[in-house]
Amino acid sequence: MTRRLSRETMIKWAPLLVLIALVIFFTALNPTFFSLRNFARIAIAAAPALMVAVGVTFIIVMGSIDLSMEGTVSLTAVSFAFIFAQLGGSLAGLGWIAIPLVLVIGGVIGLLNGLVHVKLKIPSFMASLAMGFVGTGAAILLTGGDIVKVSDATFRGLLTVRWLGFPLMVYVAAFFLFVGWFIQTHTTLGRNFYAVGGGEDLAHASGLNVTRVRVTGFALAGVFYAIAAMLVVARIGQAESVTGANFMFVSITSVVVGGVALWGGIGGVWNALVGVLIVNVIDNGMVVIGLPDFLQDGVLGLLVILAVVLSTDRKMVSFVK
């Protein structure tokens, strides 16, 4: 029992220690790494990824996985750009209506995802991967392969207006991180995620409607992907069918490296935050100390294997597909 406890303590704190070690490491190699300007740069890069990571965290806590984020982010980003333009193209005017609308669209996409997974009884990684392809396909269909510009100054203020050195989008992301934390710890839904992830049979036997919890989880993740999509659009000022590219790899890596166990039931949004920061600090730090950025995917790949290996209790797993 003591071994298990120590293991859990280790898993709980290891990611944070890794993050601190990385910051010290990069600062030692190049002191300019440790500056407000550079931290702002990391925060801007991390904000959309954090929203995707928080969304997928709920799913992974349930023991499922969602690989649809690339399609969902692309589709919601493109939808946002079009609706925003239709409503006058200004946040000061009617344009703000686009924001709740796109959140709903994200939720509906997630809902479909969950329904395909639960109702057709398809393993979530494949159901969501396929739905992700459909999402990207829909984004291509809407744009015809073109780029949709969003140049409203008020909306771009998310990037350009700064408080204490950090752009507004960082605070928006922080706010929704707290929302995620609130859902996780202070709502029945949040507790149910852990119940399903900790042992589905047990949760079912205690009268929990597991199907509904799963579908709700996917819908909730979809809403967070929509937030991520709008932050990306605010950051780069445009939406296209590849807006969501690479989010899958980066967000799954972040969540797993942050210490959310793939088997479900362990970890939460703070792990997602630490994981996203680890990934972005590595990404940024490699550039700052002059290493080529193309090593990033390889390093992340090895890191994710390492993280899964460390977080797996080998005695509990008989075999793996």
Partner: protein, 313 residues
Amino acid sequence: MDIQRLKPHLPWITLVVLVAIVGINDPGFLRPSNLLGIAGDIVPLFIMALGLTFAIYIGGIDLSAQSVANMVTVVASVYLASMGAWVAVFCVLAGFLLGMLSGYVTTRLFVPSFISTLAVGGVAFSIAQWLSGQRALNMDATQRNETFGWMIGHTWGVPNELLIAAVLVAICLFIERRTTLGRALKAVGAGELAAAASGLNVARYKILAFAISGALAAIAGLLFAVKLSGGAPTIANGFLLPAIVAVLVGGTPLTGGVGGVVNTVIGTLIVAVIRASMLYFEIDATRQQIVFGIVLIVAIALTIDRAKLRTVK
């Protein structure tokens, strides 16, 4: 007739019906030269699907196939000048080793295959970007024709790609039907615990399955590079979805154990006909991805063996 008894025959019935529908609407589609052309064009995709068949047959998945193929297009373009024909051996070996790595991580380190292959795919992508300097590369045309020209010509009116595909099918079919490895893979796919209990070295066979998948993904990449006379780190993007679709509509379920090489041949032909029919019915190419995504969901839902999944995660 019982649906369960009809199920194994659904793939080829689907294929015949699809061909008939397109053929009635456009008789030109059924011309032998047209059919051969369509079949020849799909060969790189088919080879990747053939590899994926092994990974899916044992109940796993290989999401690195596309990245491995990407990497190989770059490796082939970079080293053709210095290595000559040996570059082919080098590429296949690289694919085999990356597949082994996926298999090792999956079986010995207990990482689910969709994550381990995704991670190994990340490694392959990094290698491709590093070797290519993040640019698209071209092969020297004369050298390509001297070394690999035989891959893309015609013999008696048949595209050479089809002959290559036929040879690979024969080899894979031999492995599946006539070797201990093939029987062991079937045992693992049908029931991993039972296979382990009867003394089979499950981990070794699973590693081999992923390695075969990697090697075939590499051959797919090599052929693609020769066809396009060049390579780039993202050139084969868009292969993964139709390749998985090909395996699953062919009737090899995600849960493994049944189906196999012949099914993937039929599945790939279905994919080819769907693609071609979209042209004939003037469905915009931008809709292709949606169609394949939905076909994928339907195919999984129809084929998956739910008795094997105690809880669907």
